[in-house]
Every structure is written in structure tokens, then in C-alpha cells.
């Protein structure tokens, strides 16, 4: 058991070790001027310094909060409208062409306009983040509902489920594997938007703002700490949230 765990840790860590070694070699050979290209150990050092003095936690928390609030709002609308479009064909025929047009537009493209509507601040960022997350969730929910085997819907109706109860118990859970995919994709899109949005704003001190500021002050080591933090948070959210749901829920759909 213990031996296995050890092996697992090594297996997970060694690609990172390789990455650090290659990074160090590039740094030592001065492929780029060292000033623009800080070495890994220096960056790791700054990383822990910022972690322990609380500043990194603060920036990350703000970005996470913006993402989570915006994404939650976008996801709720996405699921609700996606379920409705999946059930009501008239609504679907109306809304689908519109969404096909808007879907490819990156959320951040709306930000300048949104800033005019809401002013610089959390509202604008959260709205844009929500918008970015919304479409993936909406689309996947819609496809999920359309893929529900009709036997489940008929079984629900025969059991006497009506309206909201039928939507909640059969349509929502029937479409859940697709909804989950939509949530994952949407969350990724929301993250991208939040970082870009914070880069453009001056008063929301999240990771995006921190990266941008480090750039302006030529603190490239701090900049890299910010960039790496985005990766680490993404990894943690995936492992602690999405993977957990996957293990607990999605396995129920596996056919035996």
C-alpha cells in the first residue's frame, strides 16, 4: 500500500521535475537574458514567499470569487434555459440561431461595452464571466435533453410526475452527463475571462491584475508566479470539484 502511494507520487511529480530541469538549463545557458527569463528556483522561492505573506492567497481568492459568482449565475441561467429549450421546440427554434451567432464570441470581447453599462468594478467582471460560462452550459444542457432516452420521460410521466418535478427528476438528471461537460467547459471559459478582465481593470486586485501590474513594473518573476498560480488553481478545482463529481455521480450512468 505504502509503496504504491509512493510510486503514485513519483509518477505524478516527475514530469514537473523534468520541466524544472529543462527550465533551469535554458536559464543557465542564457538563451534569453536572465532578467527577462527568471530561473525556476528563484520563481519557486518568490512563490512560497507570496504564499506565506498572504498576498498570493488574496489575489487568488479575488479571482476565484469573481469566477465562481459569475460562473454560478451563468450556469444557473444556462441550465434553466437549456432545459426549457430542450423541452419546448418553439423556444429552441427561436433561440438556437441567436445563440449560434453569439456563442463563438469570446466573453472578453464584450467587456469594453459591459464596462460602459456597469462601470469599472466587480459587477462588470462578474457579468462578463457569467456570459462566458453561460453558452457552454446552455448548449450542452440542450443537447443533453435532446439525448434523453424517451423511455425515461415516459416512465416519469407514468409515475405521475408533473411539470417542475418531472423537469427536476427526469430532464435534469437525464441530461446530467452532458450538463456536467458543459459546466466543465464553461468554467474553463469563465477562468479565461476573469484573468483577461482583471488585466483590463485597475481596481479589482485579482491574479489578472497582479500579472499585469508585475509586467508594468518589470517584475517578471512575480509575473510568472501569477501565471503558475492560475495553473495550480485550475488543477485544484478540477481535482477537488469536477473529479469528485465525476467519481461520485457519472459512474452511475455506466452501462453494465
Amino acid at each position: 500500500m505504502k509503496n504504491n502511494l509512493f510510486k503514485k507520487i513519483i509518477k505524478t511529480l516527475y514530469p514537473f521535475a523534468v520541466l524544472v530541469i529543462i527550465w533551469e538549463i535554458i536559464f543557465q545557458c542564457e538563451v534569453f537574458p536572465q532578467y527577462w527569463f527568471p530561473g525556476p528556483f528563484h520563481v519557486i522561492n518568490i512563490f512560497f514567499k507570496m504564499l506565506f505573506d498572504g498576498s498570493l492567497i488574496k489575489y487568488s481568492a479575488i479571482s476565484l470569487l469573481n469566477t465562481t459568482l459569475g460562473f454560478a449565475a451563468g450556469a444557473i441561467f444556462g441550465i434553466a434555459l437549456g432545459l426549457y429549450a430542450g423541452i419546448n421546440k418553439t423556444f429552441k427554434d427561436f433561440v438556437s440561431p441567436l445563440i449560434s451567432l453569439v456563442y463563438p464570441i469570446p466573453g472578453i470581447a464584450w467587456l469594453p461595452l459591459v464596462l460602459l453599462w456597469f462601470g469599472f468594478g466587480y459587477k462588470a467582471i462578474i457579468f462578463t464571466v457569467g456570459l462566458s460560462g453561460f453558452f457552454s452550459v446552455f448548449y450542452n444542457t440542450l443537447i443533453g435533453v435532446e439525448n434523453i432516452n424517451i423511455k425515461y420521460i415516459r416512465a416519469g410521466q407514468s409515475l405521475g410526475l408533473r411539470k417542475f418535478k418531472l423537469i427536476k427528476e427526469v430532464y435534469f438528471w437525464g441530461a446530467f452527463p452532458f450538463i456536467f461537460t458543459g459546466l466543465k467547459l464553461g468554467y474553463g471559459r469563465s477562468w479565461r475571462t476573469v484573468i483577461a478582465g482583471e488585466m483590463l481593470s485597475f481596481n479589482i486586485h485579482g491574479l489578472g491584475w497582479f500579472i499585469w501590474r508585475s509586467n508594468e513594473f518589470f517584475n517578471f518573476d512575480q509575473l510568472l508566479v501569477g501565471v503558475i498560480s492560475i495553473g495550480i488553481i485550475g488543477l485544484l478545482v478540477d481535482k477537488l470539484v469536477f473529479k469528485k463529481i465525476e467519481e461520485k455521480k457519472l459512474k452511475l450512468w455506466s452501462e453494465n
Binding site: S158, G160, L161, V170, F176, L252, S254, N256
Partner: protein, 246 residues
């Protein structure tokens, strides 16, 4: 006898390869407490018949009435056990059986004990907290039967429920179904394409064919309660039914 289900000059057409074809054309009365097996080749409108009675689809002509009222949609009084396993994979066995009880006007405890009662009836109380993906096909279908019975339907509609089981499990479930029928005295309409099954289960057997005047044969089966598939009388009926199937 009191008729509870009546199909009066009911017709259902489907467009097949651009041509309108009559799939079902039927007059039928079903009495309270009857166990009717419907036999026929695929494409003869067996499932269409179930769908009409369940209220999933509407007839193109004629009327389907249940307790003298026109059927306008699905209702727990006419609950269905489907051909494919329609238990919800996202709910445990117990939660599946409870679902139909949740919208009834009874307390949570009553829901729970009722659901457990029906799980006992199909011999599944031990797996109440398992999820469908952990069960065999036969067990899933027993969950579906328990779930359907739990809503206390006036008629039980079964659409080839044992079709995807192997022969042995099929026979076990047939015996269980007969026991449940004896206990609950439900009216049952059981669709199958298996001749032996239709004779073994049915008190009344109807053979359908595709197209106009769908009913080809409508007989009552006067065999003893516990039927012997190898008995001479059983085989004689089988021979007769077989003639009508060609």
C-alpha cells in the same frame, strides 16, 4: 364482467417509406382482473397498443376509454413496465421505487415503508441502497416492476419486459409475476413475441398481425394455475397459436 378498458374502432397509422400504413386497427374490451397477453411479430403494433393505453400517443381514429373516460395522457393508474430497463440510473433502487409515491399525499415515512413493501414483493429489499449500474438486467426489471406497482395502478402495462433476459431468468421472473398477480389481483396487459411466454402467463391470449383488423386470434386459456410448459394441453394450445402467427 365489468369492462374497464375499451378500444372502440381504434386506428393508428404510421408513415413508412413515404407511404401511410395502418399499424393498428382494433376493437378491444378488457375486464377487471384479466391477465391478457398480446402476441405478435415485430411491427404488428404491440408496442403501439401499449403506448395508446398508456396515453403516450393518441389514436388517429376511434376512442380509447378507461373506466368510461377518454384517455388524454399518461397517468399512474395505467403504469408501464418498459421493454428496455427504464429505471433511473441516477437514483438508488429504493429512490426509484419511491419516486412515484413522492407526489402522493402521504408522509415521508409512509413513502419509505410502502416502497420497501414493494421491494420485498420482488425480493430486492437487500439491494435497496444500490444503484442500477450495480444490478443485473433481471434485477433492474424487478425494480421497474416494484416501482410500477408502488403507484398502485389500476392496470399494469408490460411491454416485452423480459425480452432481453436469458431463458432461465425469464422463467424465474414469469413465476414471480404470476405470484404478484395472484396477490394484487391487478389487471395486466402483457406484450411479448414469445409464444410460450404468452401461454404460460395469460388467462386470455390475443394474437395481433400488422394492418387492417389487427386481432387475428382472441382466446381464453383454461389451463390450471400452475402451468406445465411440457404438458400435452400446453403444447396443443401452442400448436394452435403457432398457426395464427404465420
Amino acid at each position: 364482467m365489468n369492462t374497464i378498458l375499451n378500444l372502440n374502432k381504434v386506428k393508428k397509422n404510421f408513415v413508412i417509406n413515404g407511404k401511410k400504413e395502418t399499424v393498428l386497427d382494433i376493437n378491444l374490451n378488457v375486464n377487471k382482473g384479466e391477465f391478457v397477453t398480446i402476441l405478435g411479430p415485430s411491427g404488428c403494433g404491440k408496442t403501439t397498443l401499449i403506448n395508446l393505453i398508456a396515453g403516450f400517443i393518441k389514436p388517429d381514429e376511434g376512442r380509447v376509454t378507461f373506466y368510461d373516460r377518454k384517455i388524454s395522457g399518461p397517468h399512474p393508474d395505467r403504469n408501464v413496465v418498459f421493454q428496455e430497463y427504464a429505471v433511473f440510473p441516477w437514483r438508488t433502487v429504493l429512490e426509484n421505487v419511491k419516486l412515484g409515491l413522492e407526489s402522493k399525499n402521504i408522509t415521508k415515512d409512509e413513502q419509505e415503508s410502502l416502497a420497501k413493501k414493494y421491494l420485498r414483493l420482488v425480493g430486492l429489499e437487500d439491494v435497496a441502497n444500490m444503484y442500477p449500474f450495480e444490478l443485473s438486467g433481471g434485477m433492474k426489471q424487478r425494480v421497474a416492476i416494484a416501482r410500477t406497482l408502488a403507484t398502485d395502478p389500476k392496470i399494469l402495462l408490460m411491454d416485452e419486459p423480459f425480452g432481453s433476459l436469458d431463458a432461465q431468468r425469464r422463467e424465474i421472473l414469469q413465476d414471480e409475476l404470476l405470484k404478484i398477480y395472484e396477490k394484487t389481483k391487478k389487471t395486466v396487459i402483457f406484450v411479448t413475441h414469445n409464444i410460450e411466454e404468452s401461454i404460460y402467463l395469460g388467462k386470455r391470449l390475443i394474437v395481433l398481425k400488422p394492418g387492417k383488423n389487427s386481432i387475428k386470434l382472441d382466446i381464453s386459456i383454461n389451463l390450471p394455475k400452475s402451468r406445465d410448459r411440457t404438458s400435452e394441453r400446453f403444447r396443443k394450445i401452442e400448436k394452435k397459436v403457432r398457426q395464427y402467427l404465420t
